[in-house]
Structures are given as C-alpha cells and as structure tokens.
C-alpha cells in the first residue's frame, strides 16, 4: 500500500534532524504540561460531555444549520451553505470581487486550506495574507509543508525564519526570535490596516445565537475580524453545537489539550455584523458565514465514521502519537494529520488519499486515551483500513500471506514446522537471528529476530497435560501463534504456574491464528474465517475459562470475534459465549492468588539481593484490557523481585505486529527509545505480558549486546523459589 513517493516522504522526515528534534522536544514536554493543566479536573467527565454534545449535533446538522442561518440572518449577516470546496471558493471570490478587494487578511483556518482557497484567489489576482505567524512564515516559503496542525512551523529553526524574512524584506535580518516577531508585527500590521476583507475560520458555531467562536493567542483573528469592512468566516458543519452553554466544556478542553494552556489569550465570539470603519466613517461590517459541507454530511450519515465529527481539532492525538513524533505532519500530507487526519481526509478528500496516511497507525491506542472528544481513533483507523482494502484490495504480499497462509491453519503450521528445520543456516543454532539475507536485512536492522522453535507448543502439550486429582478450575489455553511457534517456553510456563494453582489446562489442537494480523491489515474476510474456526475449537473443550497469554489474542477473542460475527445468526451467540470466558493469564493468576497478595511482602531469596525488574506496559494489555495495575500487583507478590519503574513504561515498543515489517524505519526508532528507557531504569529484567513485545524487546537488546533479559510474566512466575 505504501507507494514510493510516500516512503520517500517518510525517509526525508526521518532524516530531518531539526524536524525530529523540535517535534520530539515538544511531544516530551507536552505530556508533562498537559497533565499539569488538567490537574484537579475530571477529564473523563469533561470529555463525556463534549462527546455527547458533538455526537448529538452530528445527528442533526441540517436542523442546526437552519437554526444557525436564521439567527445570523436575523442580525443582518449572510450565510452560504457550500456543498463542496468549489462552491465555497467561488462564493468567497465573488464577495471579494464585488467589493473590489485586492488584499485579504486571514486568520488560521483549516477549512480554507482544505478548499485550497489561497491558490484560487491568487490565480484571480487577489492576495490573501496569512496572519498567524507560523502560517505566514510558511506562506513565504512556497513548497514547504506544515509539520503540525496547531504549530505548523515548529520544525523551522530561527535561522531559517530569519533567512525567509530577509528574502521578503530584501535586507539582512538577525535570527533573534523577539526581533523576528517584531518584524512580523510591523509587516502584518500594514496588511491588517489596508486589507479590504478578513477571512477567519471558527472553532465553534452556536446554532441558538448564530455565534462563531474563534480562539487565538496572537490576536490576529481579533484584528482580522475588526479592522477590514468585510468578514468571511469559513465554518465546517462539524463546528455546530446547539446552544451557547455548549461552548463551555469545549473551551475548557481545547486549549488544555491543544497547547496545555488553561485558555488562549483571545477568545472571540461574533454574532452578526458589528460596527466597522467603512470608507470614511463608522458603519456596519458585512458578515458572510460559509457553512462548508465538503463530505461532512456524508460522514454524519455514516454510522461508523460519524464519531470522527466529534473532533475539536486540538491535535492532542498527534502530540502523543509515537509515529507522528517521528514523521510529522509533512508525511501525512493533505491538511489534517495523524490518525484522525486520515479519517477526515477519507471524507473531505477521498478514500484513496487516506490509504497511505492511515497505514501509519501502529495501533498503540495512546490517542484514544487523551482525545477530549472521546473518539476511538485507532478503531476508526482499522475500519478505514478495511474500507481501503475492500476498495483497493490487499497488496499482493499481504494477499498471499493472509489468504494463502494465515487463513489456512494446517498449511501455516506445516510451513512453520518446515521453517524451523530450514532456518539452520541463519540462526547458527542460536535462538535469535541477527542477520538476514540482503532482501530481508531491514527486518534485522536494529533488532534480532527469534528463531522458530524446533517443536511448537502444540507438540509439547501432551507432556504438560498431567491430570490433577481435584482441579480448582478447568481452563483451555489459547496460545496464539507467537507462543505456539516462537516461544513455546512461555506456554510451558503458563502450564506450570496454573498447574501449581490447581488449574487443569487443556490445549485445543484445532485452534488457529486469532486473525489479528488479518484484522490489522484490513482483511475482514480472513478475520471472520479464523474467528469461526477458533470458536468451534474452543467451545469443544467444555472448559470454564479460556486463558491467553497474549493480549492481542485476548482482544481478538473477547472483542473482535463478537463484533466480526454480529448479525450472523449461526455464530453471533456462540462468539459471545466464548468471549465471556476469555481471561488473560496474569489476570487469572491475580484472581487465584488474591488471598496471598500483600501477606508475604517481598522476602528476599536466601542467596542474597532481590532481582531488579522493570515492567513494560504492552499497548493492548494496558489500553484494551486495563490490566497494568494487576500485572504490577502480581509481580510485587512474587518473592525475590524488586519492581522499579522505567520512564514512559506505557510507550509502545514499536512492534505492532506486521507494522515492524511494513515500516521498519519507523518501528526501529520507537524501539530505540524504549531500549534507552529500559537501560536507564537499571533493571536486570524486563517483565512483559505480550509475546510480541517480548520478541521486539529481546531482539533490540540482543542487537545492542545488552545483558538485560526480557521475560513474559508467566516465565517469571514459573521460576522456582
């Protein structure tokens, strides 16, 4: 799916040191300052309120647009409902032409960029001047792309800005930030005082009163809507809210989530035309509001993607995104960045335009945690991926791998056994593959890959399944492919620990891949096929609990299977029964040992000191299953361990399944950061609850030559005291 040009953009961004430095520093400090600015506030209830207001509005745009229009018209303003970009551009051009406007001052507006207004006006002899400092800098640099939605010029060092300004002024300019800001003030003030028209966007539009709300720090929107005699506001339908009181929670969240400020310096609310200087006397300004559809009502009618219209454009999702931090908005292209941007692009532009940007999502779910409009961005990105695949088909590599192999468990298992025998030359008898032949070398750059186990777990279980005399519980073990074929020792540890707790474990031999690789590649067909096969395999065991030690498998069984089979009369109920029985291994141990927790403390081994362990929060384990605290309690209850926290323990390791194969150049720097945090923690052992993370972290540490070990929690608990 990733075309050559797209890959080149990624490559350029990754190699742009000032871009990566600036975005990295911002993202790091953002996380801390966001925490501070929300301190003492109930973020969860705030975002529920915003989500409710915006979801309700998205269900009745037509009604709200009519109400908004009536209110603006009652005050003497004009409202134009623009079906698409072309209609909006033409209307604005006509207004400008009618007034003989030659120069326009613009405050920042995504909508105006979305409709490519500047180019359109320029071609017709009208000069639009961006007045937001960053937008103006970029306007003076033709061809330069914005790197961030809220801070589009964050990647430019002051020396570069000074060069741009000296070219503009035709005289040398000192690269002093205060000086640069002074120049911008002086030059743009001239534009404000002479422009015939001001154009703004809007952060919120209130139907009740016909009010548009604009937030800025610089005050450029205040000037653009005060000085010129004509004001055109471009407002997407998704900015509509029913009532004035609805703006309060949005204004509480937008600056906090956007730039970690309690409020922007200026919040401007314009309701109808107001006095302005016209010709040589004070008169009444002319106000035009362009209500822009351009795909929005189609989106609102879509039961899945309607949710994305809740977005308030704070960009906090990109601020916490480990991928965005590396590649920036320059790679996503179009106007809207990050995961949410790819969804908006699919509707405002086209599904084709969204195909590459959406593929950048690694699925770590951090954005869903911070979104002030409570949008489930990662799930929507997966839905989008499904649509891309439905329309464009899978790339040939994926098609062969998923349809030809993963969807056929018997064949896949045979191939894996063959691989275990044939890999000899590259493994050199070691458990990790450090180098692969040239075509695949990027897979082992920065991390080693594990060798396929000689005997998969499914062949070993007959030796492990010893009948217990009076079992507390009967559990079916769903191992997932990585434990089955790469790390059967994790499976053995699961048997050992659960056996010790009196659990009779069985291994249903008909179990197959959970389908996550297919689901995350947008291949719903294969995912459905595998869901059915697994449900049949698991319900045959009669076990009370289905245990997994892989959080991605757990999510597939618990959440994806019922969702994939919804509406299928033969399967839906069966999927739900299976889903209800699924439990993560560590979660089960926590329940079984509850009475012992905290009682023993942390007695040291007789031999000496405690082993220092740090815990890596796997994305799906923490954000889907919510078991981060449970895992720490289980480890704390284990004698001989001292748990030390690493920095950013819940930051993705960069694995993301096939993501690390598709985008090794992005996966690698994410891994490097994780390895740095691990090293800084001083731990000798990393505890993890996801075999995918085990694979990634072991590979990275091996390549670094680090002595730090990585173990699944099951392996740690299986260590004999």
């Amino acid at each position: 799916m990733a075309g050559k040009e797209f890959k080149q953009r990624i490559h350029r961004a990754l190699n742009n040191a000032s871009l990566r430095g600036a975005l990295g520093r911002f993202a790091d400090s953002y996380i801390v300052s966001r925490e501070q600015v929300y301190a003492g506030r109930d973020f969860e209830s705030l975002r529920q309120r915003i989500a409710a207001i915006k979801a309700d509005a998205a269900g009745r745009y037509e009604e709200l647009a009519e109400r908004f229009t009536r209110a603006v018209e009652a005050r003497g303003g004009k409202v134009f409902r623009a079906h698409d970009a072309a209609a909006a551009r033409e209307y604005i051009y006509q207004v400008a032409k009618e007034h003989g406007v030659t120069d326009i001052v613009k405050s920042k507006s995504f909508a105006s960029e979305e409709i490519h207004l500047n180019e359109f006006l320029q071609e017709r002899g009208i000069n639009p001047h961006e007045t937001d400092l960053a937008e103006w800098i970029l306007q003076l640099m033709p061809g330069e792309r914005p790197s961030h939605m809220v801070m589009p010029a964050i990647h430019l060092p002051k020396e570069e800005v000074a060069r741009v300004f000296s070219r503009y002024l035709g005289q040398p300019v000192e690269p002093d930030i205060k000086n640069l800001v002074r120049i911008a003030r002086r030059e743009l003030r001239k534009k404000f005082l002479t422009a015939g028209m001001g154009i703004s966007g809007a952060n919120i539009a209130v139907a009740e009163t016909g009010t548009i709300v604009i937030c800025t720090n610089e005050g450029n929107a205040r000037l653009a809507t005060t000085v010129p005699p004509v004001h055109v506001a471009i407002v997407g339908y998704e900015k509509l809210v029913p009532e004035l009181k609805d703006i309060v929670p949005i204004l509480e969240a937008l600056p906090r989530s956007g730039t970690a400020q309690p409020i922007t310096s200026y919040v401007t609310m314009i309701t109808g035309p107001v006095p302005a200087w016209r010709d040589d006397s004070e008169g009444i300004k002319e106000l035009h509001v362009v209500l822009l559809d351009n795909g929005r009502t189609r989106m609102a009618a879509d039961p899945v993607f309607k949710e994305a219209l809740q977005c308030i454009r704070c960009a906090s999702c990109t601020n916490v995104c480990p991928v965005f931090q590396l590649v920036s908005g320059q790679v996503y292209g179009y106007i809207y960045n990050g995961g949410i941007g790819s969804i908006l692009t699919a509707f405002f532009n086209s599904l084709e335009d969204a195909a590459e940007p959406q593929s950048l999502c690694i699925g770590c779910r951090r954005c869903a945690e911070v979104c002030p409009a409570k949008i489930n961005i990662p799930d929507l990105v997966l839905k989008l991926r499904e649509r891309v695949v439905t329309k464009q088909g899978l790339s040939s590599g994926y098609r062969i791998a998923l349809h030809g192999v993963v969807a056929r468990p018997k064949l896949m298992h045979t191939l894996l056994r063959a691989a275990a025998r044939l890999q000899g030359p590259v493994t050199h008898g070691r458990p990790l593959i450090r180098h692969l032949p040239i075509f695949f070398s990027s897979l082992t750059e920065g991390r080693s890959l594990p060798a396929i186990a000689r005997a998969p777990l499914r062949d070993r279980v007959k030796d492990l399944e010893r009948p217990l005399s009076r079992p507390r519980l009967r559990a079916a073990f769903y191992s997932g492919c990585v434990i089955d074929f790469v790390y059967p020792e994790i499976g053995e540890a699961v048997y050992k620990v659960l056996g010790r707790e009196g659990v009779q474990v069985v291994f249903p031999q008909e179990q197959a891949c959970c389908g996550a690789p297919a689901a995350y590649a947008g291949d719903r067909e294969t995912a459905v096929k595998l869901a059915k096969q697994n449900i049949a395999a698991l319900e045959g065991t009669g076990a009370g609990v289905i245990v997994t030690a892989c959080p991605t498998c757990a999510v597939a069984l618990k959440k994806d299977f019922p969702e994939l089979l919804t509406g299928d009369p033969a399967w839906e109920a069966r999927a739900r029964i299976v889903a209800a029985k699924v439990k993560d291994f560590t979660e089960l141990v926590h329940e079984l040992t509850r009475d012992r927790q905290g009682s023993s403390g942390q007695p040291l081994k007789e031999s000496g000191r405690a082993l220092k362990v740090t815990y890596h929060d796997s994305c799906h384990f923490k954000r889907h299953l919510g078991l981060d605290r449970v895992a720490r309690e289980v480890l704390n209850g284990q004698p001989g361990l001292e748990l030390v926290e690493m920095q950013e323990s819940d930051r993705c390791c960069g694995f993301g399944g096939s993501y690390s194969i598709k985008y090794p150049e992005i996966s690698r720097p994410i891994l490097e950061r994780k390895l740095k945090n691990i090293a800084a923690s001083g731990a000798e052992l990393v505890a993890v609850d996801c075999p995918g993370c085990v694979l990634q972290l072991r590979g990275g540490l091996d390549q670094m030559g680090s002595a730090v070990q990585v173990k699944h929690t099951a392996e740690i608990l299986a260590i004999e005291d």
Binding site: T209, T259, S265
Partner: protein
Amino acid sequence: MNQNDLIAFFTRQAEAMGAQVIPVDGAGGIGPKLVEVLRPFGQRVALVESSMCREAGLEASLTAAGFHIEKDGAGFARQADTGIVEFDYGIAETGTLAMDATGLKARLATMLPLTCVALVRAERVRANLTEVIDAYLERGNWPGYFTLVTGPSRTADIERSLTIGVHGPERLLIILVGNNGGDCHGR
C-alpha cells in the same frame, strides 16, 4: 468563595497568564496610578469612554499630566502607545477579562497599541465563564462581539519560544477598581 477570595484568585491567575494586576481603592485612584505607570510607555493614549472613565475623571488627569488623549477619528488607536478600555467582568478561574466589545473603539483600543489598560470593577469578578455567560444572557440580547482576554498577545510559533506582543498588546495592565476604601486589593 467569597468576593475577596475570588479577587485574590483572579489576581493570581491573571498574573500567572502574564498580565499585571494593579489594585486601586476606588475610581479616584485610577488617574494618579495611570499617570505613574504609563509614563515609560509613551504619551499617546487612546481612551474609550465609559462610566468609570468619567467617574475617575481620567481624561482630565491624564491630560494634566501631559498625555495626549485621542477619543475618536478615522485613525483611532492606530498610532497610540496605550489603549484604555473598561471591561465588564473578570473571571477568576483563568484570570480572564470579559467584555461586550461590539463597539468598534473598544476593539481597536484593546488590540492596536502595545500597551492595553483594562479597567475592571473588583465587584465584577466572577468565578467562571458559565457565570459570566449567564450574566450576559440575563441582560437580554447576546452581544454582537463578545471577547475574552487573558494576558498579552503571545506566540510560540518560532522554536516554541514564548514571545509576547505579536499582533496585539505586549503589555496588559489590569486596574482592579475597588469600591472606595473597601478591601478590594485582592491580596
């Protein structure tokens, strides 16, 4: 919170956001205070008439001290060093000023000069935005141009370095006017 606590909170928040809060006991104290603090920032003052300006006799005391006062005209506030405007409310939660800025002069005087003097009655400090919105709604028609101002004009667009005074004022002085001798100092 009682009014004194609100005023203290407002003062703390406004200063944290980069404004300077100057309490005066009553309207009579405004003139002498402004003569003292505005002198370093230039002689040209754009003054927007309001009940408090008149009560304070601001025009007379500034003129007497040698300031050049403009109150009207096509170029209003364009060349002024300072704009003086009365705001309707203070919002304690965020240290914000609120004003019905439908009148053109109020907008020009608060945005064009490098220094903005905001007069606000201490008794008009409210806890949060919701209370202020309610107060306007009670008055009837929602203002044509309603504005919230918190601290000076700022940008962090170049290297994320906070710089003030990009398009609007680089200095926001809030004159918090008490009720003649009452304890409205806010500290």
